[in-house]
């Protein structure tokens, strides 16, 4: 599988799409801290007390990573997951690539691992950028960073958590793109699923007998994992380990189904 993974990473590194996504995320983080800095600098100090707290490095894990990056990064994860397999059918390259692979399972596994690695790199880079910008803004406005000896571990844990919570969405988009042989379908269904899930689950939860349903889906569990270190924010959410297990079941389930379908599918077109 090593050669296939190298090939996947090589192609992803040459493809404009991941770089565009990274540029967009970078621009959004710059915008986020830039706007806050301008606000702090231009408004009376008493009106920016909250902002001065939010921009501190100690808030980066909860504010920039757990909140901002979790939302926008998940959209990127869906695009990445869907396009990893959907474009192969769209361009017809699956017919050229598949005979080169020593099996269908290694090919699909290589794609999944490549998506996860690129996603991990992207989340790490943007998180470090957010931390850097936070440190700069904090230094400029003269606020204490609020970090202590345990901050590095908190930061790494937040990056790992947000990366982990993106994986189920990437896996679902990957599966949809494979089932439909379409990049666009994978992205569209994945992105629609993101807000629609929350709305639908709120409606379902109105029925007493179905109160358990939201806990089996993604949004509540994602929130539970992302707020694992914030007892206040976790109120009413499932336990973090339980939530992580549910997300793992989604990841494994989606990928296992993708493998099962792909192993039996005739590649007649695309």
């Amino acid at each position: 599988m090593g050669g296939l993974l190298r090939s996947e990473l090589f192609r992803l590194s040459k493809r404009p799409m991941p770089w565009i996504m990274l540029t967009i995320l970078t621009a959004l983080v710059l915008l986020l801290y830039g706007i806050q800095w301008v606000q702090i600098e231009t408004q009376p100090a008493r009106e920016t007390v909250g902002l001065r707290q939010d921009v501190r490095p100690v808030e980066v894990p909860g504010f920039a990573i757990g909140g901002f990056l979790s939302l926008f990064g998940t959209v990127m994860a869906i695009v990445l997951g869907a396009s990893a397999v959907g474009t192969e059918f769209g361009w017809g390259t699956i017919r050229a690539l598949l005979p080169r692979a020593r099996g269908r399972v290694p090919l699909l596994l290589a794609k999944m691992v490549a998506v996860a690695l690129v996603l991990a790199a992207m989340v790490s880079l943007v998180s470090l950028l957010a931390l850097g910008l936070s440190a700069i803004v904090t230094g400029r406005v003269g606020v204490d960073g609020g970090t202590d000896a345990g901050f590095a571990a908190d930061f790494v844990a937040a990056v790992a958590r947000v990366f982990y919570t993106m994986l189920p969405y990437a896996a679902v988009a990957f599966l949809v793109a494979l089932l439909t042989r379409s990049n666009a379908a994978g992205i569209t269904i994945g992105i629609v699923f993101l807000p629609a899930e929350g709305i639908l689950l709120e409606l379902i939860a109105l029925v007493d007998a179905l109160e358990w349903v939201p806990e089996a889906f993604l949004s509540e569990n994602v929130e539970a994992v992302n707020t694992a270190s914030d007892d206040e924010a976790r109120e009413g959410l499932p336990g973090a380990w339980r939530a992580a297990a549910v997300l793992l079941a989604w990841i494994v389930g989606a990928l296992a189904l993708a493998l099962a379908v792909f192993r039996r599918r005739d590649v007649t077109s695309g």
Partner: protein, 362 residues
């Protein structure tokens, strides 16, 4: 019930670092010896629901030959190629590559078979060189320098750094051929390799194909362009609706269509046919009243004997002309009227044949 496609791998690394398939076949360098069967199918069948795309197909492709796989559009050629490459699971039958069943070892396809299926498909955002590099990485074990050497061989060195999406169709086809040779395969499968090419591009590709066979590879050329096949293939199989309708060497097939056209006065056609039917070397005599011609199934060199026999009965031929059928004539005879798509092709062929007949009569 759906069939699980082969997914096992068994490879070993050779002294030169190349990955070699487990188990031996052919010469010491892993290349098959000339004449050895590198691809063999037995009773190969594929059904898509109620539609039978390929039925009971037996093929044998040998090292050192260009094997033509002919059929109209929709005859099952690409489906067969898909089954050979493991892209499509056969409903029944077997595929053997280099003496081993396909299901036993997928690395045989990855390492020893190079193929272009229908139109070449590459990543549009990558250059030609990077496309080959990506495929070489996926296959594994491709020595450094191979990509540039192959680009030079197909005349793409100058444009190797250009994005694939900017390539002309001819350049795409040439890149496709280069990609089939990445792993120095023993079997090269080319499915409609000159599709969409201008005459110069077609000639270029036609020059490359026999060279591949001379290098000891087996080449399976799937095509419906009969002129192309007649020029480059040693043996052919003709399929119609997924079934084999004819096979043999190109020379033998063309010879089978040999005949002599004898021009006589209208009143002499019937008695002339009677005379010629009595000759021992004449297989058949057809009367074409419109053209005032007898079509005589006989070797081309026996025209003088026909003339003598007719003259002996007081019948004097205006013209005696040996004719050879092209592979196209034979193909159309065997396949016309198959499917709507096939009929369209056959119709076009009939028009061409009428034109040729007219020209011959003139």
């Amino acid at each position: 019930m759906a069939t699980t496609l082969p997914d096992t791998a068994s490879v070993s690394t050779g002294l030169d670092g190349h990955v070699q398939p487990a188990g031996g076949f052919g010469g010491a360098d892993g290349r098959p010896t000339p004449g050895e069967a590198v691809l063999r199918t037995r009773g190969l069948t594929k059904r898509f629901g109620a539609i039978t795309a390929v039925e009971g197909l037996d093929l044998e492709v040998r090292a050192g030959e260009v094997f033509g796989f002919l059929g109209p559009n929709g005859a099952g050629k690409s489906t067969t190629v898909g089954m050979v490459l493991g892209l499509i699971a056969p409903t029944s039958g077997t595929v053997e590559l280099f003496g081993r069943p396909l299901g036993a070892d997928r690395s045989v396809v990855a390492r020893r078979v190079g193929a272009i299926i229908e139109t070449p498909a590459f990543y549009p955002y990558l250059s030609g060189r990077d496309n080959l590099r990506a495929l070489a990485m996926a296959a594994g074990g491709v020595p450094d320098g191979t990509v540039d050497r192959l680009l030079a061989q197909v005349g793409l060195t100058e444009r190797a750094g250009g994005k694939y999406k900017t390539y002309s169709l001819g350049m795409k086809q040439r890149l496709g051929i280069a990609s089939t040779l990445l792993t120095d395969p023993g079997l090269v499968i080319l499915d409609e390799p000159t599709n969409g090419l201008d005459p110069a591009g077609q000639r270029e590709i036609r020059a490359i194909i026999p060279r591949l066979a001379r290098e000891g590879r087996a080449v399976l050329l799937a095509s419906h362009l009969l002129n192309e096949v007649e020029h480059v293939c040693d043996r052919v199989v003709i399929v119609r609706r997924g079934r084999m309708v004819e096979s043999g060497s190109v020379a033998a097939l063309v010879r089978r269509g040999e005949h002599i056209e004898v021009g006589l006065a209208a009143a002499e056609l019937a008695p002339g046919a009677e005379v010629l039917r009595g000759l021992p070397f004449v297989e058949r005599v057809d009367i074409d009243e419109a053209a005032r011609t007898l079509r005589v199934g006989a070797p081309a060199e026996r025209g003088a004997e026909l003339n003598r026999a007719l003259a002996g009965q007081g019948l004097f031929a205006g013209t005696i002309a040996p004719r050879r059928s092209s592979l196209e004539d034979i193909f159309l005879e065997l396949t016309e009227g198959s499917t709507p798509g096939e009929q369209a092709i056959a119709g076009a062929g009939r028009g061409r044949r009428r034109w040729r007949r007219g020209r011959a009569a003139a």
